[in-house]
């Protein structure tokens, strides 16, 4: 992978869907933040705050209705093209009628790569997530954790400039989640990749990210942009450090206030 160089800058970005009946829906109120190349940025916030909307705007699947989204080459300081991105989804979104290797090779197939070539690359990606031997299984035959490793391999085989992780471990049980978080932390550290992680979990954000963006309850605004200065490599042991607790408490405080505010607003509405 070439050294990543393109940053994404959001300035007062918002997205409102006009409603055919009733009030328009504010999916994202106001986001000003940036995503730096070679860094992992986590976005954390209460349910419905627009975290995933923000990610879809980054990906280009949704278009902001307010504000500006800029792609800037940090090397030259000039505007750049939207970098190549691949997403890992909370619901896995594997194609159930395709085998593991066919799922992983899907994106390469869309590019028109020949079967032999794409299967060789897919095999490598499958090995990288420790799933060798499962190439010809169907997703139904795998556990949740294995399915998400297929999802990860499918995204990584595309060699994206930016990896988008949309609550990647949200559908997994707590133990599987811990193991995969550690594996992903290792992968991120070794590759120095650019990634954007949307999550509910403060622990996951601290474990993986260089920067944590905290969002308010709906309508979602960015309320904080916190650097994570804990040393790498990080693992479950990181959660025992003093710096971890301090950061955790700080983020938890913000989120608790937001969640309480949302409860009060909703119950009085």
């Amino acid at each position: 992978m070439a050294a990543p160089s393109v940053a994404i800058e959001f300035k007062d970005v918002g997205l409102t869907f006009p409603a055919s009946a009733g009030e328009p829906v504010v999916a994202l109120a106001d986001a000003t933040c940036q995503f730096e190349p070679g860094k992992v940025t986590a976005i954390i916030g209460p349910s419905g705050c627009g975290k995933s909307t923000l990610l879809q705007i980054v990906r280009g699947f949704l278009t902001a209705s307010r504000g500006t989204v800029l792609f800037i080459d940090r090397g030259t300081g000039k505007p750049a093209e939207r970098p190549a991105m691949s997403t890992v989804w909370q619901a896995f979104n594997l194609f159930p009628w395709l085998t593991v290797i066919e799922n992983v090779a899907f994106g390469l197939e869309m590019r028109g790569m020949a079967r032999r070539e794409r299967e060789a690359l897919a095999r490598k990606a499958i090995a990288a997530v420790d799933l060798s031997g499962f190439e010809n299984k169907y997703p139904r035959q795998l556990s949740g954790g294995m399915r998400q490793r297929v999802g990860l391999a499918r995204a990584l085989v595309m060699k994206p400039d930016i990896l988008l992780l949309d609550e990647p471990f949200g559908a997994l049980d707590a133990q599987t989640r811990l193991v995969l978080q550690e594996q992903l932390a290792k992968l991120v550290e070794e590759s120095g990749m650019t990634a954007i992680l949307v999550t509910h979990s403060i622990e996951e954000a601290i474990l993986l990210a260089d920067t944590i963006i905290v969002m308010s309850a709906r309508p979602g605004r960015v309320i904080a942009d916190l650097p994570v200065e804990l040393p790498r490599p990080r693992s479950f042991a990181t959660t025992q450090e003093a710096g971890y607790s301090r950061l955790f408490d700080q983020i938890y405080g913000m989120l608790r206030d937001e969640v309480m505010r949302a409860i009060v607003v909703e119950s009085s509405a």
Binding site: F61, T87, N93, F95, P96, W97, M110, R154
Partner: protein, 258 residues
């Protein structure tokens, strides 16, 4: 034989299914012999088998069977291609759907046999008429199930395909159609059944060859053994088609059952 073995044999649905057929035939044969019922009304199974063998060896029933099969499957093949393509088009375009909904609502509930007189006026009673009636029977179930299947596709899969840089046409071919295949095949099952019914009915009305024509002719001249013989061929055709469809279902659904 131990009790356990008896039980496990009775648990096999094939043993029960075929066993019941054998029992009913045996009872029929014995009852017909004992009561001496006139074979004009109810021939014995043994007489029917003799008629069946005669019809195949010297009566040209094989040619009738092949003609009927050709009519059913040629018309059905047209319906499969046209129905699937139209179905995908309708499912992916709201404007086409708005138009198609109207026509489907008007034409689908219409019993297709009622179209036989009109089709004979337009097409005569030859090959084109038979293919049209067969295709008309199959196309609606296939088309409607294709539309349903495509529209029920998990939006997350479409999003994942877009994320992996699939073009709109690749999304149709690689995501929407594969995800709709179980539903399309359910339509194929229904459609093929309707095709069989319509072709045989049309043959009874206008055919000179074909199983329907043979059935009608045999009835006209009170050859009751032959009537039963043709019914047995039709039943065998039904069983064969159903079993083949079951096998295809298992094969198509391998990723679901796994």
């Amino acid at each position: 034989m131990t009790q356990h073995e008896t039980k496990s044999i009775l648990d096999d649905p094939r043993v029960l299914g075929w066993g019941s057929v054998v029992l009913v035939i045996a009872f029929w044969e014995i009852a017909a012999r004992l009561t001496g019922v006139n074979s004009l009304y109810l021939p014995r199974p043994s007489q029917i088998v003799v008629a069946l063998v005669d019809m195949f060896t010297t009566g040209g029933l094989l040619a009738d069977l092949l003609m009927t099969l050709y009519r059913i499957f040629a018309g059905f093949a047209i319906a499969l291609v046209v129905g699937t393509l139209l179905g995908v088009w309708i499912a992916t375009s709201p404007r086409v759907r708005a138009v198609a909904d109207m026509w489907i609502a008007a034409l689908y509930p219409l019993p297709k046999v009622t179209l036989i007189p009109l089709l004979i006026i337009w097409l005569g009673t030859g090959g084109p008429f038979m293919l049209t009636i067969s295709a008309l029977g199959a196309i609606f179930p296939i088309l409607i199930n294709t539309v349903l299947g495509v529209r029920q596709c998990d939006p997350g899969l479409v999003l994942a395909a877009r994320d992996l840089n699939a073009s709109p046409s690749q999304i149709v071919h690689k995501v929407l159609i594969p995800s709709a295949i179980p539903s399309i095949f359910a339509g194929v099952r229904l459609g093929l059944g309707v095709s069989i019914i319509l072709v045989v009915a049309a043959e009874m009305v206008v055919g000179k060859v074909g199983l329907g024509a043979r059935l009608y002719l045999a009835g006209q001249i009170l050859e009751t053994e032959q009537v039963f013989a043709v019914l047995i061929v039709l039943a065998a055709l039904g069983i064969t088609v159903t079993k083949i469809q079951d096998q295809i279902d298992v094969w198509l659904g391998r990723w679901r059952l796994a």
